[in-house]
Amino acid sequence: MLHDGRPVELPPSKRTRALLAYLVATYRSHTRQRLCELLWQGPDDPRAALRWSLWKLRPLLDHGRTQRLVADRERVSFEPHGAEIDLIGVRALLNGAAADADTASLEAVERRCRGDFIDGVELPECYAFQEWRAGECEVYRSLRLDVLGTLATRLAPGAPERALAFSRRRVAIDPLSEDAHAQLIRLLVCLGRHADAIKQYDTCRHILEVELHRRPSAVLEQARTIIRAEVGVSDSRAPMPPPVEIQEPAAARPLVGRQAEQLALDEIVAAAREARAPEVTLLLGDPGIGKTRLLEALHERVRAAGGIALVARAFEAERTRPYGPFVDAFRGIALAKAPAGIAAEVSRLLPGSANGPPSTDGAPDKSRLFDAMARLLDWLAARRLVCLSIDDLHWLDEASVALLHYCVRQARGPVIFATAARRGELGDNPSALRLTRDLTRGRRLRQLAVGPLDPEAIAALVSDVPHGTDVAWVLSESEGHPLYALELARAGPGAGAAPAESLDELISDRLVRLEGRANDVLPWMAAMGRTVHPRLLAEATELPVGEVLSALAVLERRAVVRASPAADDRYDFAHDLIRRAAYRRISPPQRRLVHARIATAIAAHREGPETWAVDVARHADLGGDSALCVQACLEACARCLQVFAYGEAERLVELGQRHAARLADASRIRGQMQLYAILVHPGLKLHHPGPLGAQIADLCTEAADAGLTAECSLGFKLIAQLHHHAFGDVPRARAAIRRAVEVFDSLPAEPNLEPLTDGAYCLAYLEIDMRRTRALFDDLARLRGVEGLLGFQWGIGLISLWEGELDRARQALRSANTLAMRAKKTWAEFDTLAAIATVELEAREHDRVLALSPELERLADKLGESGNEGPFARSLAALARLESGDEEGAGELDGAIQALERVDSRYHLAYVLNTAAQIAFRRGMLAEARRRSEAAKRAADAVERIGESRRAELVLAAIEAREGRPEPARRFVAGARPEDLASLPRRTRDILPLLRELVSGHA
């Protein structure tokens, strides 16, 4: 980004850069919600993170009165206002296919295309953003290839030298394209550079063989024929000079300079040996400044003091690999002698550390695992000094951050906790940022800012780079940056004359000079994204292990890779910036191939039993192998749940769902349902239980259509479980839904919805948390065949009655009544009919209530004298009579109420007494109304019928107001919050207007 021709420094936070890129590239307005979902999904406060990023961007984009970043409470957009945007410029210049544009426009487009689309702004954990980014990359990449191809073709006849430059760029971007190679070969032949042409042919054949296991096609062979035809014509130019061989010592470079930091390290070791309260050392600095070398110096000191260094680093690509760095740090540490309890518990995380399985005493939980890890550290520290060192804290996964925090809080013995992080990128990892803030507050964080090296140290650093280095030039250009200095020195003696390039360019240039197997192995190693075992590399590349080892030896000599300090048998890049440069050299189609092959190799090999699935999922995602990705996500999720890494599990489910959607029907349904099952795990926080229930219900229907009965049954069970969790605070509701879950557990695979609808009906009958019960019924309503189930219609009827939706209630209850009759369930037949009578009573259709009475009496008789049925039927009839002005109803009501008391049906008593109290109130019989209301409240409270209990309270308040004491009514009116009212039945809510009227009358 440039302002007035000068580069503008962008905020170091990758998410902030990503936000800028997204707003500019999409060139339209977005809701804040959408942006949060894209870039800040997770448990933190995404809206606050978005605000922070916008605040950081605003000064870079807005100048004077020109406001380019337009944001209100809901939406955010970028408006150029005169700013020149390369993407927009390119679109304007092309305006269609490259073939239709004039050559000048094409050259202008090519000048504007500088590297890949938003290069370096990868956010592996933000899948939606990555997806968008990958799509855009592909669009602009193919556009650029099109432009380069067209330019090379058009310029070939008149200006072959210029055409050659474009053709070379095309090959560099798409090395797997035989067309591109053939075009380049023809141009070289045309320029008389036959040796280079032959070399290009060989290069292409080699790439095809290694990457695609393919022989050259007709296109390439034709190009070769042209070379042959031209052989004999003298080669006017010499081939490229051979690359300079750099031989560097394989051992770690000695630490130069850094006197103050070295003193600090000595002090840290001394403090730990005196067993002072452990603190965390955080080395902060720019990439390549030497943080890792300082960490290594600390490890050397710890080992020299007889201690043990547990060393690991976090990887950008592995943010969903829970506890990955801990697994790496403890790999190879003999835990056989650790106390059995500890070893058994940590074996969850570090397989192979115990002979027996983890303890089954009590439910497993995260705190026990964390406690065991902390005790393990203490146990180690009781014997010798221990240093737990995690590099690149800014990439540390959420689970590891939590575990690290716990270990720091619990550690008592001589333990050194050491970490390093890039200054600007720590803000992109909310959990790591929170950790450092908490530690700072607790005075347990020692920050060491790692700055530039002094000139003497730089001179010492580059002194052993094995060819004549212009030290003065390196000193002035590197400005004390050690990696930059080394790369400048490695660039060779001639570099002194050239203007200094960026660090990235220097590294890229060095990689370009690699040849043979080293060059073949490099992209694979870069794509792996972490430390690599040569055997896995051999399996992925399908090269013999011996060849891979000699390639690695070459790369090690050239300071591109090194043996990993954390694990002897593995290799890592000498610096992450080199990994990035090596990865950037791989073209997108090649990347897909490489990742897909790596995924298959890891899946076959299962290297690292504890983490292989996460690696497979990531590579299969990047390689576009959706079936493998879904399978790996499921396995990885199982592992995450086992070690309580719930945040990581959620992200893997999201990734898995994205790929499952691409599979063919049966596999898709199977994959999606299993992934939903992970989301419904009790450990995971349900972020969107509403939509989730609906999605599972829809998938159930699809599963039924596809004849996938096991998936269908699993779906029903998941819906039950989902609501079981949702009713977390109401024991009776949990019991009702639990019943459904248990029944599903014991059922064979054949789908049967009845347990679920019966459980749901119970909730509606008990009037427990009716809003959630309504949500459950909404989910059930999506399932095919549910309309024919008694429990469903009955429940819908009761909920609708509660909500005051009387037409809907009547209709559903009639269906339920018919179903009960068909099933010959007399008590259900009575209950549904009595519910219909209640609907009519509330609809003030008194004649209809009375018309139902004989049938209700008949069914009550059939059920026997012991139940509530007879008295309840008589109560309803008596209430209808009274309401219609028939005074005989009064005596009948008294008798029916006494009978209900005798059979002890407080559930029905609460309703009947409340209704009777309201009738008495309307007739001005306040003493009777009070007596009935008080009895109703007692009955409702005994059976926890909250809606009826509140109804009694409101009627009592109305009586008080009518008697000249408006205070209780006033309190109700003043305290009636909408959310409280929503938890009450309509018949109770309907009393409030009366109370308001009474209160205002008193006022």
């Binding site: 009776r732 019991a735 009702a736 639990r738 019943r739 248990e742 019966d758 119970c762 009958y765 008990l766 008590w827 259900a828 026997g864 004298e865 012991s866 139940g867 509530n868 059979v903 002890d904 049906s905 407080r906 559930y907 029905h908 009955a939 005994a942 059976v943 926890e944």
Partner: protein, 85 residues
């Protein structure tokens, strides 16, 4: 919570050794309706059984029985417990 007594009759008689054959079906429903089983007395000939429960009201006990589709002959009645202490 009050005590409630349920009278169950079995025709044909049940195996008295196995106690109440319906308990598996009944127990989850009891929980749903907030009913706690206290004790049962099964006739040696297996023809009848008396069960004692704690519940908010008699209706909850009846409801649980009906939801579990367990037959009960006579009314559920509220009871007071007397012992020689």
């Amino acid at each position: 919570m009050s005590l409630f007594v349920v009278d169950e009759r079995f025709d044909p008689p049940i195996d008295a050794e196995k106690l109440n054959p319906y308990s598996d079906a009944l127990s989850p429903c009891l929980k749903t309706y907030d009913v706690r089983w206290v004790s049962s007395y099964v006739a040696r000939d297996g023809s009848q059984c008396v069960c004692i429960y704690e519940a908010p009201d008699a209706e909850s006990v009846r409801r649980a029985y009906r939801a579990a589709a367990v037959p009960f002959k006579h009314m559920v009645w509220a009871a007071t417990r007397y012992t020689h202490e």
